[in-house]
Each structure stands twice: as structure tokens, then as C-alpha cells.
């Protein structure tokens, strides 16, 4: 993922993340879940399950492009740069798998 594709991915994910953030915060302001039952019901509703899944896809893709840009700008030594990029990619993949497990478990309950 590089060049125009990365640029485009960063912008498309940004628009979704901004929309989700507003929706999430406004929902919390209107009616914050006061109990586990409220929270769990809300998060496992089909709308929220889909929106949250898309949120994490957008978040982790956005983080990849942004952190990659930061590393490419500030880390000059090639070996260190490559190592950090690999660690970043592995870290984001682990987080993606972790989220998938949480969302699948949540959906099953």
C-alpha cells in the first residue's frame, strides 16, 4: 500500500472515523449506557455491530498509513526503519485479530 492508494485510504477512513466519532459521542450524550445490559444490548445491535466493525477496519487502516508516514519521515537508518515498520504491521494485525475475536464473541452472546 503506497502512493495514491495510501493517500486515498487515509482520507476515506478519516471521513468514516469522523462520522462514527460524532455518532458515538452524541449517542453517549443523549443516553449513556448506565449498566452492562444497556451497553451490551447497544453494542450487539446489528447497526452498532456493523458500525463498530467498520470503525475498527477504518481505524487500523488509518493508523497504518499515518504511523507509516511518521516512521518514514523521522526514522532514517534503514534497518531500524524496516524493523519498526514490521513491528507496526504485526501490532496492527494482532489488534485486528483481537477485535475480531471480541466482536464475534459479542455477536454470539
Amino acid at each position: 500500500m503506497s502512493g495514491l492508494n495510501a493517500w486515498l485510504l487515509q482520507r476515506i477512513s478519516a471521513v468514516y472515523l469522523a462520522g462514527f466519532l460524532v455518532y458515538f459521542l452524541v449517542s453517549l450524550l443523549i443516553c449513556a449506557p448506565q449498566s452492562y445490559a444497556d451497553w451490551s444490548d447497544w453494542m450487539s445491535s446489528s447497526t452498532m455491530a456493523l458500525a463498530t466493525t467498520l470503525f475498527f477496519i477504518a481505524l487500523l487502516s488509518h493508523a497504518w498509513v499515518g504511523m507509516r508516514d511518521v516512521l518514514l519521515d523521522y526514522v532514517k537508518p534503514f534497518a531500524l526503519r524496516l524493523t519498526l515498520l514490521i513491528l507496526l504491521a504485526v501490532g496492527l494485525l494482532v489488534m485486528a485479530l483481537w477485535v475480531i475475536r471480541i466482536l464475534l464473541t459479542g455477536a454470539a452472546v
Binding site: 504511523m67 511518521v70 489488534m95
Partner: protein
């Protein structure tokens, strides 16, 4: 194109004395807040997992916010999220050539920097 003469121009890299343009402050703030938000992701995922594990997990995560250190970190993330959100919208508008003249770009950078601070103030009122 190397100049043979020794470079006698004054060098001042004292970070406490350099005044960055307001647009540069909005921009570096966007980077710093982005890195902070990235670092927060594992904690957010962990809180999501714990809060969905059952009533006890939900209570544990809610109780976290009584801790002063967590409150301070939450405020730092509130600034990060607010600044990153507004500065991000500013960059998206600049991408589609809205507000690219210097005067408007300076004003919007100032607005973004202020909105980031307002975000923290709102968060302070809500959690302290």
C-alpha cells in the same frame, strides 16, 4: 550546488525561541495527537473487551475512570481526539482546495488549535 564560501548565516535552533507559524503548530499537533491516539488503541480495545465480558467487567472499566492518572490520560486523549478531528477536517478541506489562501489557512489553523483546547475543557467538565 555547493557554495564554496563558509556559511556565515546565523543559526538559531533553540526550540524555546523559534516561533513556529500557527499553521505549523496545527500540523505538528495533528501528528503528535495521531501518534497518541495510535498508542491508545490497545487500551481502548482492552476496555471494549473487558466491558463486554459481563456486569463485573463493565463495572471494572467504569471504575477505572475514578483513578486520577486515568483521568489525566483521558484528558490527553480528549485533546488528541479533538485536535486530530478538527485538524483532519481542515486538511480534508485543504485537499479539495477550500481555504487554501494564506489568510484563511492561518485563521482555520488558529480555529483548529482553539477547538482542540475547547475539547479538553469539555472533557474536564465531564470527568473531573
Amino acid at each position: 550546488m555547493k557554495n564554496k564560501k563558509p556559511d556565515t548565516r546565523p543559526v538559531n535552533l533553540n526550540l524555546l525561541k523559534i516561533r513556529q507559524p500557527i499553521t505549523a503548530i496545527a500540523s505538528i499537533g495533528h501528528r503528535i495527537s495521531g501518534v497518541l491516539l495510535f498508542l491508545s488503541i490497545p487500551f481502548v480495545i482492552w476496555m471494549l473487551e473487558r466491558s463486554l465480558q459481563g456486569p463485573q467487567g463493565f463495572a471494572d472499566v467504569s471504575a477505572l475512570f475514578d483513578n486520577s492518572l486515568i483521568k489525566i490520560l483521558t484528558l490527553l486523549l480528549a485533546w488528541s481526539a479533538a485536535h486530530h478531528f478538527f485538524a483532519g477536517i481542515r486538511f480534508l478541506l485543504l485537499d479539495i482546495e477550500i481555504g487554501i489562501d494564506l489568510a484563511t489557512a492561518r485563521t482555520s489553523a488558529m480555529v483548529v488549535n482553539v477547538l482542540g483546547v475547547i475539547g479538553v475543557l469539555i472533557a474536564m467538565v465531564m470527568i473531573l
